[in-house]
């Protein structure tokens, strides 16, 4: 896979590290245990497009919000996770 880092351009995915679903951006406020259980453990795990988090560890260190098809591996959008999170606020 080639991931187009918004800073560094297109790079082989070996430069990146995968974390998981982009739902991890949405850390619950407050102390609701059910909300945290869902946040930490439960996954939709779709077969089609999925928003997920990768870090460009061997490059600029930015965390990226990557929209990728889980079956074809086609990547349709890459944004800075920081920007996605800020926009959601």
């Amino acid at each position: 896979m080639r991931i187009s880092c918004p800073h560094c351009g297109e790079r082989d995915h070996r430069e990146f590290e995968y974390l998981g679903s982009a739902k991890l951006l949405e850390r619950p406020d407050g102390g609701d245990r059910a909300a945290f259980h869902d946040y930490v453990f439960q996954r939709k795990n779709p077969t089609g497009e999925n928003a997920e988090l990768w870090q460009h560890v061997m490059g600029c260190s930015a965390w990226l919000h990557v929209v990728r098809n889980i079956t074809t591996h086609e990547i349709t959008a890459v944004k800075l996770a920081r920007d996605v999170k800020a926009a959601a606020r």
């Binding site: 998981g20 996954r43 077969t47 889980i70």
Partner: protein, 416 residues
Amino acid sequence: MHYSALQILKNGLTGNKGWKPVWRDPEPKKSYDIVIIGGGGHGLATAYYLAKTHGIQNIAVLEKGYLGGGNVGRNTTIVRANYLLDGNLEFYSHSLKLWENLEQELNYNAMLSQRGCLLLAHNDGQFDGLARRGNANLATGDDAVLMSADDVRAFTPYLNFDDARFPIRGGLLQRTGGTARHDAVAWGYARGADMRGVDLIQNCEVTGFRIEGGKIKGVETSRGYIGAGKVGMSVAGRTSQVAQMAGLRLPIESHVLQAFVTEGVKPVIDTVISFGMGHFYISQSDKGGLVFGGDIDGYNSYSQRGNLPMVEHVAEAGMALMPMIGKSRMLRSWGGIMDMSMDGSPIIDKTPIEGLFLNGGWCYGGFKAVPAAGAAFAHLMATGEKATWATKFNLNRFETGHVIDDEGTGARPNQH
């Protein structure tokens, strides 16, 4: 038809024309007492034990492709019982015992070969970790031998002991671990189930559940509606998708794990070697191919194929551990989709929907688990009770905090 040397002789002399189908291809009935979704190792074993141990015969196994076409036919065939934590310890211990009698029980040669399974340690901390594991295995009644670096050298002299990046500090050998012929396990269970009246229905994809009043009624399939008293999901790799049709969301991600085989060579490796530091393991098949693998590629995937970084990493680890394989050639690589659970351990449990049961989240452990998981899932579906060797694989353990995290990496499926 009972298989025996005599049978082979008889057929050999008569042009091999007397062999009978190993399983029937029945049309699906309108309804069954129990429907198992998934004709892989687990689903077939579950049906077999339901029929054999629990005397239930009105069973169907629904397979969307061909029998044994999922992970049971694309793994690296390792069988072992050298886990670390309670929950896994007794489960895999029980599984290995079932493996040891499987061929006679099924009258099918699955070629279980207990040629040993060696885990390597490269520093004192890892060595202590192996000791803890070995002690737990011995306490569970399984085999374990702690080896010094010299012991390892005597046992596997072809490893790199002289200029290794991570010198070998010692190892833990389980002599009862080894390999089996993966396809034969699926076929043997399929044959056993079919002989006991189970309908094995291929090319039949489940497309939905019929649930009324919180209770399962049947399944919609590509070959029409099939009613069911109970339904078991045994579809590792697609568990999230199937469960979602019942409105369930699970602590599972799907990842691709690659496996590799080289061209056949004369015997050079007589055991299974696991190089934890390099995320690499290897054995040699009876045909002569070196069978090896490593970690999952590391990203969610439903494609049964991987990418080059892991291919290269695995080859690099192989060259680091045993540079004698440099002149063998990788013949084929393939991928399987792993149900990676959030603690690296499986789920065998009821679901919130009455009559709907779940067997999934197997991560890398699915193949070696086939007998015990099939037997445990059958026990659960037949009796409503957990089997004694599988009491801790609960669906709600993430809520309660009773996770079974053998790797200690937490809710990071790609690190288990």
